[in-house]
Symmetry: C2
Subunit: 239 residues, 2 copies
């Protein structure tokens, strides 16, 4: 599925193995979005179409489709003569996206809540396990990876597909802010808070109370925004 964190073995081979154009697009899109979100390409990075096409073993044409969709998602900005740059997340946009996500997460509990079957419960159990592992050995990459994977798990708590699509777009618009703002000194604290969130939500899911899970998620989004703004202020403050 997602994987492709550091390993990401030979994308070119995966692309060649894919039979349809849609599959190839999906691979390129996922890989690039993941690299942007995991800060393999930090904000401001210039992505050369020619270089990327070379790495993927294809021409610029099919690659450009992936880049154009990512641009529509707000993750890239292409300009003729300048280049394709990874966008930055500014504080204003961050606050607006977070406010919207807070409200929409509540909808997860109200609109078409999924029934918690064995598979879903098992998924959240692995999340809990990964959180515990991370707490023992806090690490930036693993933290970011768990953040992304837990989001996708949470998504499965609703059967409303448009809600899923919209939530995903909003999530990826800002999720890299954590990696960009967390200094190594704060990592442990953030991991601890995130673990508490995962534990609480997993407990709620275990007893089938999706609405409770949604409210917990909302509360943590709210507090997360507050911490992010304070981090941002601390970073922007003069030395």
């Amino acid at each position: 599925m997602s994987m492709a964190d550091t390993g990401e073995p030979d994308i070119a081979a995966q692309l060649e193995a894919a039979s349809t154009a849609q599959e190839r697009f999906q691979i390129m899109y996922s890989v690039l979005r993941d690299r942007i979100s995991m800060l393999v390409y930090p904000p401001g990075t210039q992505l050369s179409e020619e270089v990327l096409a070379g790495e993927f073993g294809i021409s610029r044409s099919p690659l450009r489709k992936a880049l154009q969709i990512l641009e529509a998602d707000g993750l890239l900005l292409s300009q003729q003569g300048i280049g394709t740059l990874v966008t930055d997340v500014d504080l204003n946009e961050l606050a607006q996206v977070y406010q919207l996500r807070m409200e929409m997460n509540e909808l997860t509990g109200r609109l078409s809540p999924a029934d918690v079957d064995f598979r879903l419960a098992a998924l959240f159990d692995t999340m809990r396990q990964r959180a515990e592992d991370l707490r023992v050995a806090p690490e930036r990459q693993a933290f970011a990876r768990l953040n992304i994977d837990f989001f996708h798990a949470f998504q499965q708590l609703t059967d409303n597909q448009p809600l899923r699509d919209v939530s995903e777009k909003l999530f990826y618009q800002t999720c890299r802010i954590w990696l960009t703002l967390i200094p190594s000194t704060n990592l442990s604290r953030e991991v601890e808070i995130f673990c508490q969130e995962i534990f609480a939500i997993t407990d709620a899911v275990a007893i089938g109370d999706i609405e409770a899970a949604a409210h917990i998620r909302r509360a943590h989004l709210s507090m997360g925004l507050k911490r992010l703004t304070s981090m941002k202020d601390a970073k922007d403050a003069p030395v």
Copy 2:
């Protein structure tokens, strides 16, 4: 020459006048989305890249970007060897989108409500005027056009940009359903209902009560969904 019956004077000239690629994309995207929404291209219509590029006076490359974004929006579906087809709106998707829009419209009143200045009040006044004109002479095209324009006016009631973007995507995913389902016999009734909605919302906006406007909108979305499902049932019923 071109079959663009609804105003839309020579797109090719507009494209040539545009100075940047982004402007050209915006023109093509808007024109195509509008044609799909106004049923110039009804669901199932096959859009030939070559023909469209010819009409727009450009090559397939820049046109394809617009088509690809519209495909990501869910309005088109492209398949190699088959063609690019306008998607249909099925009842399931319709219900999910409407449920989500109902909830999100409430957010319009809570998240960053815009302050109603003179310009905004004037805009809603023109909407009221157009509604009154439409009531006198109900017409399918004018109804659909007002539906789209009123949506954009309503959008301006919030300053939360992500909320605007998401709402717009959702709106265009289903708005053509009205034109596809309304038989000429029901047009007058729908126009009447729509006028009542516009009048009520305009009154609320006039006194600066955006939250009230949002609740009215939500109520009409809810009732609209009910009517749409009943229309759909009536249409699908055997003769």
